[in-house]
Each structure stands twice: as C-alpha cells, then as structure tokens.
C-alpha cells in the first residue's frame, strides 16, 4: 500500500463532517429554499438518505476488497482496461470537483471580504496549504480535521444561541403547502453534497478499526443531516421567505446578531468557519486525488504528484467557471446528475457486479467439489 499512515474510524467521521458541511453551510439554505420554500429542512432530511446509501455502498465494497480503493478494485471487478478507464474517470472527476470547490471557496472570500485581491492569490494560498497537508499523508489530513472539528461546530451552536431572540418559529408554517414534490426538488442539491461521502472509500483501507468504519460513517451522515436541519431552521426562522434572496444566508444570520449594541458584526466568525471547512474539504478531496493517481499509475509513492496535481486543480478552478452564476447553475442543473452518477450509481453497479461474480464463482467451486 502506498499510504503507511493509519487513522481511526472516529477520526474518519470527524474528517467527513466538515468535508461535507464545509461549503454546504453557506450556500445550501438559499438553494434549497428556492424549491422547497419553508420546507427546506425536510429536504435536507430526505437528502441524507443518499448519504446513508453512499456510506453503505462504500463499506460493502470495502468489505469485499479490504486493502484497496476504488481505483484498484475497479480493475479487479471490470478487468484491467475497463477498470483503468473507470479509474481515470474518477480521477478526472475528483480533480474537477476539487477545482470547483476551491473556486467556490475563493468566490465567497473575494465577494465578501477581499474584493480587490486577485482570485488566483486566494486560490493559490489555499491550495498550497492543502498541498502541505496532503504531502504530510493521511495522518496529517485526519488530525488537522480533528483539531478543526470543534472550532467548526461550536460557533454554529453559538450563532443559534446569540440570534435566538430574533427568531420567529412561525415561519415554519404551513408545512408541505404544495405537497411533497417541492421537498423532493429541494433535496436534489443537498443530495449531491451527501453523495460526497463516497470519498470515505479512499480512507477505509487505512482505518485501524475498519469494522467500525460503517458505523462511524453513518454517525457522520447523521451529524451532517442534523447540522443541516439546524442551519436551515435558524436561517428560515430569521429570514423567512427572504432566504432565497441571499447568496449566503448564514452570513446574514451572523451579521444580524447584535447583543447589547456592542457584540455584533460576527461575519468574521463565518469567514473562519468557511476557511476551516473549505480547508478540510479541499485537503480531503486533494488527498483522494493524489492517492488515487498514485495507485492508478502503480507508483510506490504519491508525494511527487501532489504539486503537479495542485497545479491542475488550480487551472480547473480558474478556467471552468467564469462567475458565480455559472457555479450556481452547475450546482443546480448539472451537479445532481454528475455527482450522483459517479459517487452513487457507478459504485452501486460495481458492488452488484462484484457480488454476482463472487456468488457465481462460489457456485462453480461448489460444483467442482
């Protein structure tokens, strides 16, 4: 195996949590509310089903091929040529996605805090830091995520407490005014975020206690779903139908906080959340890309690939998306098909093929005896 480091399944869960929520906290409530209106919290619960399914598929595949990632076992399931092709698709997909995420991160920083700074500077600095973590190996990526986990979660809880007096829970009503269809439509986008749980398949072979991988994976999905519901409810209770008019609703919540006229303007806390979450997210994606490429090329070490791949991610982040509207369009119209097919549908097919083959092989062996 290329990676010598080990992490525990608890670390994995704490790593996946900001990986999913990192970019979801800011943009998702607005996007979901566009379709689901005041039922957006139901949408996030519905979407979490995709997360549970993804974790289940990843863990089942892992049980069949305990020491390998999807780049390797796809060759075993489909044969060398088809497997390598699929592996390439995966690598391309994750490089592309890392680029988009980096761009999403940078767009927020540029539009809200550093309008004059060139976007390439923001992207490069983040990618260099992430590259350092990836260079350090899975233990560095995992541990930084664990260190940042409380720093990421505690402010979210604080927001709720601080803005409590301004909340209007009646915004929740009427529940499911137009039936279940808007809720399903609203669930399409968060579902793409939940499908990113498939990334844990790259980390499952490195667990010290891999039998607990699925359990902690499910716990992580639950945590993400609950946090999404919490954020959705807070933004809904404060902003009401106005949620849809804000690009970053949680940012508005933070700005609305005002305690005794001096404890206010907490947008820098949101910025901190965003930078930390994006860092964990980008480094986890980046790590998967680097490790996967190493395995795809049968190298003994993935480290020499980190900087070149980082450059590729940099280019994707700059070239792929001209502005925020295109990004929103991508997340809305392309994302649900693109991300779901690669992170849920293909792994599910692989799992089915692997199981069927194994059965038939066993049946043949039984016949021979």
């Amino acid at each position: 195996m290329i990676e010598k480091g080990k992490i525990s399944s608890l670390h994995l869960a704490m790593m996946m949590y900001p990986t999913i929520l990192g970019t979801a906290v800011l943009v998702l409530p607005g996007m979901m509310a566009k379709y689901a209106k005041n039922d957006l919290w139901l949408s996030s619960i519905l979407a979490s089903l995709a997360g549970f399914l993804t974790v289940y598929i990843a863990s089942r595949l892992h049980r069949l091929f305990p020491k390998e990632t999807i780049i390797q076992y796809s060759q075993r399931i489909l044969g060398t040529f088809a497997g390598k092709t699929l592996g390439f698709i995966y690598l391309f997909f994750y490089v592309h996605l890392t680029g988009i995420i980096t761009r999403e991160y940078a767009d927020f920083i540029i539009s809200m805090f550093l309008p004059l700074t060139p976007i390439s500077v923001v992207i490069t600095s983040m990618l260099l830091v992430a590259a350092m973590a990836v260079w350090g190996g899975v233990e560095v990526v995992g541990r930084t995520a664990v260190v940042f986990f409380p720093v990421f979660t505690i402010p979210l809880v604080f927001f709720v407490i601080l803005v409590y007096t301004d909340l209007n829970p009646r915004n929740l009503l009427p529940v499911m005014e137009h039936g279940i269809i808007p809720v399903i439509k609203g669930a399409l986008m968060p579902e793409t975020w939940f499908s990113e749980f498939f990334l844990m398949s790259f980390f499952l072979p490195m667990l010290t206690d891999s039998e607990k991988g699925m359990k902690w994976g499910m716990a992580s999905v639950t945590g993400v779903a609950l946090t999404m519901v919490l954020i959705n409810l807070v933004t809904l209770f404060l902003l009401g139908q106005e949620i849809t008019t804000f690009t970053y609703p949680l940012m508005e919540v933070a700005r609305y906080i005002s305690i005794a006229d001096f404890f206010e303007n907490l947008q820098s806390v949101v910025m901190m959340l965003w930078v930390l979450g994006a860092f964990v997210k980008i480094s986890v994606f980046f790590y998967a890309v680097a490790l996967g490429t190493g395995q795809w090329l049968n190298l003994s070490d993935y480290r020499p690939l980190v900087l070149p791949l980082g450059f590729l991610v940099f280019l994707f982040s700059l070239w792929d998306l001209p502005n925020l509207s295109v990004l929103a369009h991508f997340q809305e119209k392309v994302g649900p098909y693109y991300l779901t097919s690669i992170q849920i549908v293909i792994p599910l097919l692989l799992l089915l093929i692997a199981v069927v083959r194994r059965r038939s092989r066993k049946a043949k062996e039984a016949d021979r005896r």
Partner: protein, 400 residues
C-alpha cells in the same frame, strides 16, 4: 539551520495576514453613520450621508451654537453631512465619493431615511442596493422623514452623538415602530403587500437655541401599499398598530373616566398579542388576544387602589383603553387605508394554505372585510410604591 528557517517562515506569514490588496487603514475610511435618500427632479435621487468625524478632526464648533454649551461633545461637531445627486443610489454614491477624500464605508450605518417624496414614488429599487451591497447591515433601521430627509441628518442633537443615533435609540426604546432592512424586505415580499415604516420629523428648537440644535423624533408611521407610501397614521394610531404586531414593550396607558373623576396611568410591564385566524362559513375572521400586565404609576383620583374592587374597576378601564387603541388603529388602517400592515395575510396563509390560495389575488378586497374580534386580558400587577392617593386626607379617600 532548520529552526532559523522555520522561525523566519513563521515571521513572514505576518506579511500575508494583513489582507493583501484589501488592506485598509481606519484613517482612510469615512464611516457613514446614517444615510438619507431624497427624490430630485427628473427621476434623480439625492443621497446624503452623515459621516463620523474622528475627534482629532473636529473643529471648534459652529459659531453661535448655544454659547456656553458649545454644541455637541468635545466642543465640535461629531459628524459631517455630504450629499450628491445621481440616477440611483450607487450612482449618487460614486458622485459622493468624489467629494469625500476617504473611502466611504457602510458597515457602521445603522439608519437609513427615505424622504417623503421618495417613499411616495416607490422604494423597491432602493432596497435592492441595501441587499446587494456587501457592507450594508440588514439590521439597520429604516425610516421615512416628513419632507426632506437630508435635513434630519443636518441637526446636531445635544444628547446623542448624531441625529441617526437619536432615532435609532428611540426605536430601540419601542416608543415607535422599529423596522430593520430585513423586516422591510420581508414586508415588501410578504403576502399582505403593505409596509409600515416609522416616520421622523425634527422637533422645533427651544427658544433662544440655534436652529440646528435640536433632535429628530418619531412622528407616527408611514403606511405603504406595495412599495409606495399612501399615507401616514398618527403616533396614537401607531400604538394600536404596535399592539397588533406584538411590538409594544414600553407603554404608558392613561385612562380618564367620568366614574373616577380624574385620570389614572399604568405603565406596561409585559404585553403579548396573539393573532388567531379563523374561517367560519366562508367568513374570514381574526381573533386578537392581548395579554397586558402593568403597574400603576399615577393615580389622580380619590379612589384607593389597594382595595380589590376598585383595582378591578381600574383593570377594566385599563382594558377598555387598550381596546380603544386597537380599534382606532384598525379603523384607520384596515377600513380606510386598506393596507395589511398587521400581517393578517401571513397568518391566514399559515393556518389555511388552501383557502388562502383561492383569495390570494383578491386579498385587497377581502382584507377590509376581515372581521376582527378583540379579547383583552389586562392585569394590574401592583399599585406602585404608594397606597393611598397622595395629598388627600385619609377620610376623603373612597374605598369603594
């Protein structure tokens, strides 16, 4: 060697922490404390801003500013007002920047005032600026001024740092409505299609004082239909509106009745209002439930409030007065102006989504016919720090 490198690398990160291209120094910023938007000829607008003056920049004050008192704090004005014209706010802001040597910053602006003419012409387009500009705070308060808005900024209130601060503090005291940008946006997009914004005017200066040495005050409420102002209700009617919107926090209710031969005042301690919509046999009804609790602050009658029977009578008078305020507000706003600033539409929508969608387009016709029933539970918690009415011989105090 490695340590030296590491240490120098850590020190170098400080260079990155200063914000790169977006480094801004406080002394390059002009902090806007309040802004006013007025309508000018030919669809143009005038944007006036009140800019905070740092202490070192304050001059010796304007001459004739009330002699000994010497104007605002520190012997000089705390703020400076500048205006510019433009096609819209952003355009006017660009013109304004040409007059102000420092970068205009909106992050501290907590008060926005629309001139009466602007409000009558419509405010949709202006609100978009508030939402889109990343520095504008959604918690800032919005007002409509009587007449020109810029003159509100020009006065130099003796008690607060600037005039924007005065009206903001007034709103925070809940003596009138307090509407933030977020509330305004919610009302604009709301089902009721009506907006209420507090109005401000300037107190006429006391005799012998400089004409600018005065302060703005809350002067009723401007009522909008869609985004256009259609009229104004008095401060008294505003009270009723605030009761209905559950915004009453700080009220003194004075009751004057024949039966008591004098007036009694109660100070509101706690008050909640609950709106319950009902549709009975096709009739749309709104049940208003008010719970009020207060202390007596002045007793101008000869009655002894310590006696339970008398207190009961007073409670009833207290209740009637609140009812009266509510009815006055309803009469003007619901029947005459036909503007749903109470949020009745939202209440119906929440409880009866199906029926709501049928009348949604005719809400303007349905709303004035909504039958409002009022149920008030008023409670006098204590007669204050006194028992008998003051200054009356004990035998003259009526016990019943």
């Amino acid at each position: 060697m490695k340590r030296v490198l590491l240490a120098s690398a850590v020190c170098l990160t400080v260079l990155l922490a200063c914000g790169c291209w977006d480094r801004t120094e406080v002394n390059d910023l002009a902090l806007v404390m309040a802004a006013a938007i007025d309508k000018k000829e030919g669809n143009r607008i005038e944007l006036s801003v009140e800019i905070f003056l740092p202490r070192s920049q304050r001059g010796g004050g304007i001459s004739g500013m009330g002699g000994e008192q010497g104007g605002a704090k520190g012997g000089g004005k705390a703020t400076l007002v500048r205006s510019a014209e433009g096609v819209n706010i952003a355009d006017a802001l660009a013109r304004l920047q040409e007059e102000v040597p420092r970068k205009i910053r909106w992050g501290h602006c907590k008060v926005y005032i629309f001139g009466e003419e602007t409000a009558k012409a419509g405010i949709f387009e202006k609100v978009d600026f508030f939402q889109r500009h990343p520095e504008v705070r959604t918690r800032a308060y919005v007002y409509v001024s009587k007449g020109n808005a810029s003159r509100i900024l020009e006065v130099l209130p003796p008690l607060e740092r600037d005039s924007g601060e005065v009206i903001r503090e007034l709103s925070k005291l809940h003596v009138g409505m307090g509407v933030t940008i977020l509330d305004l946006k919610q009302m604009l997009r709301g089902e009721g299609g009506a907006v209420a914004l507090p109005m401000v005017d300037i107190l006429s200066p006391r005799k012998g004082q400089h004409e600018l040495e005065t302060a703005p005050y809350l002067f009723g409420t401007a009522v909008f239909k869609k985004d256009k102002m259609i009229g104004r209700i008095t401060q008294n009617e505003t009270r009723g509106v605030m009761w209905l919107k559950n915004e009453i926090r700080n009220a003194t209710v004075t009751v004057k009745e024949e039966e008591f031969e004098g007036s009694v005042s109660f100070h509101q301690i706690r008050a909640t209002t609950k709106l319950t919509p009902k549709i009975e046999r096709g009739k749309w009804k709104m049940h208003v439930e008010v719970k009020a609790e207060g202390d007596m602050v002045q007793n101008g009658t000869v009655l002894n409030p310590v006696r339970p029977e008398i207190l009961g009578k007073m409670e009833k008078a207290f209740k009637d007065e609140i009812q009266n305020q509510l009815e006055t507000a309803l009469r003007t706003v619901q029947k005459k102006m036909k503007a749903d600033i109470f949020g009745f539409a939202e209440e119906f929508h929440r409880k009866y989504p199906k029926q709501w969608h049928q009348v949604k387009d005719q809400w303007d016709d349905v709303y004035p016919k909504v039958e409002v029933t009022i149920d008030i539970k008023a409670h006098i918690r204590s007669p204050g720090a006194a028992t008998h009415p003051a200054g009356i011989p004990e035998q003259e105090v009526k016990q019943e």
